[in-house]
Symmetry: C2
DNA sequence: TGTTATTTGTTCGTATGTATG
DNA sequence: TCATACATACGAACAAATAAC
């Protein structure tokens, strides 16, 4: 697999625990045996068990709650590793990836959303509108609703990788303190209007228009970060999206 | 950071060790202090140190050799972890990400390539052409050259994240045995012709056309995988690209 | 409210195998 | 071969947090 599968007992113990989780013997959400139980079950010392469990925790596969036990959180280490990998990059680079993912997700979502996906997107959009109406002039610059709608779109793409990366990116942007900044850079009414048009395009299975609106939307949100060196350059990327749908005249080149 | 930074001593110890490595206090290749030394240095017990070190090893940042000590292998979580994370997803999902990254990279590359980037792309393209001319009817279905050109474009985007993800994706596709399949799905002459047009667009700073050609190119390469369940759906995404500018050029060729 | 049992958190001592000189 | 240093591994013991009664 992934691990060097070293010869040390702790490593092999990690591999054995991981295998049990991956096989579904200990499903996500359930509690695994206590440390003394595992010690006897696997025939290794408790210290060794703890090292293995700690490794599983850093992989994001389990979470251990003091005096409560350790619980399975994910059958694979993937999402956590993605978040970890993203944390090593500059904000401008993260934003570049977000544009790539969101545009692709919008296209893919338009191509094959299911009834459940549509429901989720509609719900997120409705809740966002409702919330904006209630707390009109309030602080309300939170990007939570925006992220929820985008997350629903990523989900609707039917591509777990896109969805996971999107969620990981949101986390990374959040910890980088950029989420609020992005949310504040665009007027709430405008944002909801853009979301509305985007949703209409996706619901109508119009892949091209979905890509177009998403590109416009992301670029608009990014324009607020124009003081960032690279983000400035990214705003020039609005051009293709604007020209693409109706640029028949270009064909003659 | 990425870690939950839990309140446990082991977690904070992991964070402290990780910070020392990231700061360069313990450079890559060097040996970190022994466990008893770390125990005293950090003011925690040896078992706690061991758990933290084991986690670092799981992240690929250190490697511990029996009776020799533990050595720093990487200042950040190992890149191989990214490949690892990607390998947990379905081929169709990987391909969806590739489309997103490549299209974005093409746009960004067109927006701000440097002289060095242009040189690299031109070199890769020239070598590809040369190689195709020499080994005309040979086996030569290798995707190596294709990957090199795409890698050069990702590099020219100026976004390390896009570049790294692109490289990781190539590796993941390679290990999944999909690289050759993709390369074989498109005629060499057609591929080089598409690369040529793509390069011309990028060199001309035409962001829109770069995005368009890249989308067409990726979709064309993906069409060969139409027997895959989800990949079939992905080919429907050709639609937006075909409706745009040079769809008729494709019909002509 | 408080008491008790369970479970994880942390430390320490010790034994063992292995690499180095 | 021997001695030293170090990582590996085990288990005992106590602390702290949590849940159930």
């Amino acid at each position: 697999m992934s691990e060097p599968s070293g010869s040390s007992l702790a490593r092999s113990t990690l591999a054995r625990l991981r295998a049990r989780i991956a096989s579904g013997e200990w499903p996500v959400g359930t509690r695994i045996p206590t440390e003394p139980e595992l010690s006897e079950l696997l025939g290794v010392g408790r210290s060794t068990v703890r090292e293995a469990i700690r490794s599983l925790a850093t992989l994001g596969m389990v979470e251990t709650l003091t005096a409560r036990g350790t619980f399975v959180r994910s059958a694979t280490p993937a999402p956590t590793l993605l978040v970890n990998a993203l944390s090593a990059y500059e904000p401008a680079e993260l934003i570049g990836l977000r544009r790539a993912l969101d545009v692709e997700a919008a296209q893919s979502a338009a191509a094959h959303w299911t009834d459940g996906d549509l429901e989720a997107m509609e719900s997120a959009l409705r809740e966002e509108t409702e919330h904006a109406r209630r707390a009109v002039a309030a602080v309300q610059g939170r990007g939570t609703h925006c992220a929820r709608f985008h997350g629903a779109i990523a989900q609707a793409s039917g591509n777990r990788l896109l969805s996971d990366l999107d969620a990981s990116l949101s986390t990374a942007l959040e910890t980088a303190g950029l989420a609020d900044q992005i949310a504040a850079s665009i007027d709430v009414a405008v944002r909801i209007d853009e979301h509305d048009r985007l949703f209409t395009a996706i619901r109508g299975r119009d892949v091209a228009k979905a890509a177009h609106h998403m590109a416009l939307h992301v670029d608009a949100a990014l324009r607020g970060l124009s003081h960032k060196p690279v983000a400035t350059d990214l705003t020039t990327l609005v051009a293709p999206a604007q020209r693409t749908p109706s640029a028949r005249r270009e064909a003659a080149s």
